[in-house]
Symmetry: C2
Subunit: 228 residues, 2 copies
DNA sequence: GCAAAAGTGTTGCAGGTACACCCATGA
DNA sequence: TCATGGGTGTACCTGCAACACTTTTGC
């Protein structure tokens, strides 16, 4: 190609970080410290550095924001956004990553952010750029992945109970599940969870058994939310 | 950010175009006319232009390559590849698109390609750049989407028989299906296909009824390939 | 014992597989 | 009437939803 009619562009990663607090799905947001959209909430993220791969950039940004070790969270690419005017600073493509972390520690502000907060997804307001669309897309991916994969355990600490796991599904799907059928189904699915041979002290009622994440990644059969 | 340690980059789209010929899944490949990887097979694609959105760039490239009208094929974004050294020309991010076309007309060479061919996916050799990885990823997406969506009709011409549709599944999954159960299941799934009230002349046997694509996008219940 | 939460048994139904069988056409 | 592929009926099996019921703890 002789004429350079293609764009010289910058490429950023944006992070949709979900965690669960108090039975509700929360999203990690930062308050922007610089224009454009100064003081507006936005997704954490930043530019991909020279010589840096996309996933590495996403992991780096998440670590800067949460101080979490890379093997303590789930992260995967979701979609890339490239509308010509999505960012007033120029041509910026954004590769969105979905991250899921167990019981996130109190977040800290990053380089470009005034502060970071966890916000219940139901209360997320108008965000900077096209970030509302990015959140919607990532949430749909997370909801679908709970059906066919063991992704839900990524929301849980190292050991957890079946009820903990069920509350993950209920928070993400915003839908109640039958505790008894759920219990049976999780234990019947090979590799979903493995017995930790411990009981948790409980404030009331029979103490539940604790489990760890199993080795399976895909669920056979899936946990369908359909049956509307 | 004061220091510009992030990459100034170019962004390209690469197309994984599938079609079915003679009951086999085929992939559209071009022979590169310019370095790097000159004379090597590669995915069709090209740089995103100034002021052009990602999907528009992918549709444009596909039209240039196949002369097909935009509403005659299915296209969707799959994944973005950004390893620092994936392209020897410099920092180039590639957004991969999966496209599915019915009975592709003979392809033509594009601006950057010597020629274009349809190759059975089983016979795809070593491709330029990281394109083998891109094809593998896109194929897995296509296989999965056949389970949960009506994507298979995108491989079919305007009117088709249930057997045509079944052969799509068999080609993509590389697995034979029971014709009788498949038939019943497709007709039982609301909105998958609608009766075209025509019969096709057949060389032997009872003439099959013809159908058109229905309005449904998702399949309830899904067409599971599992049951290994 | 009573409350509370964990965990099990059972029944009815929806949907899948396997395969016997009937239908419509050309030669 | 036979071969061929389209299409239907049916029997068996798996897996889920619903919900009654039992178990194990703290008070």
């Amino acid at each position: 190609m002789v004429t350079r009619d293609h764009a010289q562009a910058r490429v950023a990663v944006d992070l949709v970080v979900f965690t669960i607090r108090g039975g509700l799905l929360h999203l990690l947001l930062v308050k922007r410290g610089n224009p454009p959209f100064r003081h507006r909430h936005a997704l954490p993220g930043g530019f991909v550095r020279r010589g840096e791969d996309l996933l590495d950039a996403a992991v780096r940004e998440l670590r800067e924001e949460t101080r979490l070790d890379a093997n303590l969270f789930h992260i995967e690419q979701v979609h890339t956004y490239g509308a010509p005017k999505r960012d007033p600073r120029g041509r910026i493509f954004s590769v969105a990553y979905l991250a899921i972390v167990p019981n996130l520690p109190t977040p800290v502000g990053g380089t470009d952010a005034l502060s970071a907060h966890l916000v219940p997804v139901a209360k997320v307001g108008k965000l900077a750029f096209d970030h509302n669309k990015i959140v919607t897309d990532a949430l749909e991916v997370a909801r679908t992945k709970l059906e066919y994969t063991t992704l839900a355990v990524s929301f849980c600490p190292e050991t957890f109970t079946i009820t903990d796991l069920r509350k993950v599904y209920e928070a993400v799907w915003e839908r109640e599940l039958d505790a008894r059928n759920f219990h049976r189904k999780v234990l019947a699915t090979q590799g979903f969870v493995v017995d930790a041979h411990r009981k948790r002290a409980s404030p009331a009622g029979r103490p539940p058994a604790e489990y760890r994440a199993g080795k399976a990644i895909a669920l056979h059969p899936p946990m369908l939310r359909s049956s509307y």
